[in-house]
């Protein structure tokens, strides 16, 4: 297992190239980048899809209009199999792998590695080998059972 903090996986009924395009084209991103109740206006999405290029969005809360800007730099843009960026603010690295499952189905795996300065120490990074998200779920169960 790699030293990543969080893993998210989903299978989509669409060809790999299309799913990849959805992740790098503002005209697609605007439809889904904001979570439930949050929009991502097209005119506020910046995508320069190449290593070192900017990926910036502004998410707008539909209920109260509050905004959440995001900005990142692409680390890798390998259409249609892999995409990676590092968030400017948090230093978190997001790597997305697109796997062609055949029959126009595509698996998307997101790995998020939180790499603040103190995490760059190899010993500390090795500590993440036991996936932190499973640990969190385990603790959540423990603490809830106690309450």
């Amino acid at each position: 297992m790699s030293d990543n903090v969080l893993h998210v996986t989903r299978v989509f009924d669409a060809p790999r190239q299309l799913v990849f395009s959805c992740m790098v084209e503002p005209e697609h991103l605007t439809h889904f980048w904001g979570p439930t109740g949050v929009s991502a206006p097209l005119d506020r999405i910046t995508v320069d899809a190449r290593a070192g290029g900017v990926f910036a969005t502004v998410m707008v809360n539909d209920a109260d209009g509050s905004t959440y800007p995001t900005s990142a730099r692409y680390l890798e843009v390998s259409s249609p199999e892999r995409l990676a960026w590092v968030e400017d603010h948090s230093g978190m690295t997001v790597t997305i792998t697109f796997t062609d499952l055949g029959d126009d189905r595509t698996q998307v795996d997101i790995e998020q590695a939180n790499v603040p300065a103190q995490m760059m120490d190899p010993a500390a990074r090795a500590g993440f080998l036991t996936s932190l998200d499973r640990f969190a779920a385990h603790l959540a169960r423990l603490t809830r059972a106690e309450r």
Binding site: L6, F12, C22, P35, Q112, P116, R125, A136
Partner: protein, 118 residues
Amino acid sequence: MTAAVEERLDATFAALADPTRRAIVARLAAGDATVNELAEPFRLSLPGVSKHLKVLERSGLISRRRQAQFRPCHLERQALDAAVDWIEANRRLWSERFDKLDDHLRTLHAPTNGDPHV
């Protein structure tokens, strides 16, 4: 999320980046314990445990009472909850994005000949 909150989360995650510290946190979730009680199951020296406890204490994940020489360690659930909440919020964010992406892909795949409003 404010900078202060993010800094605290950074410290929390850094503290949790070590398997022994995670085991200590899991042990303390079951109740307070002294350094001796913590050292035993992990086969660590007392200075070894103390080092880990200092990191955990600095991150705000645990506190130690100034009482007697035993100074039992106490898990500060709020700090832990913040880390767990962040992870759950992040997972929810992607899950909701994926739900929307799924809908969007369906729209793209919908037949383009014929009136979709019929």
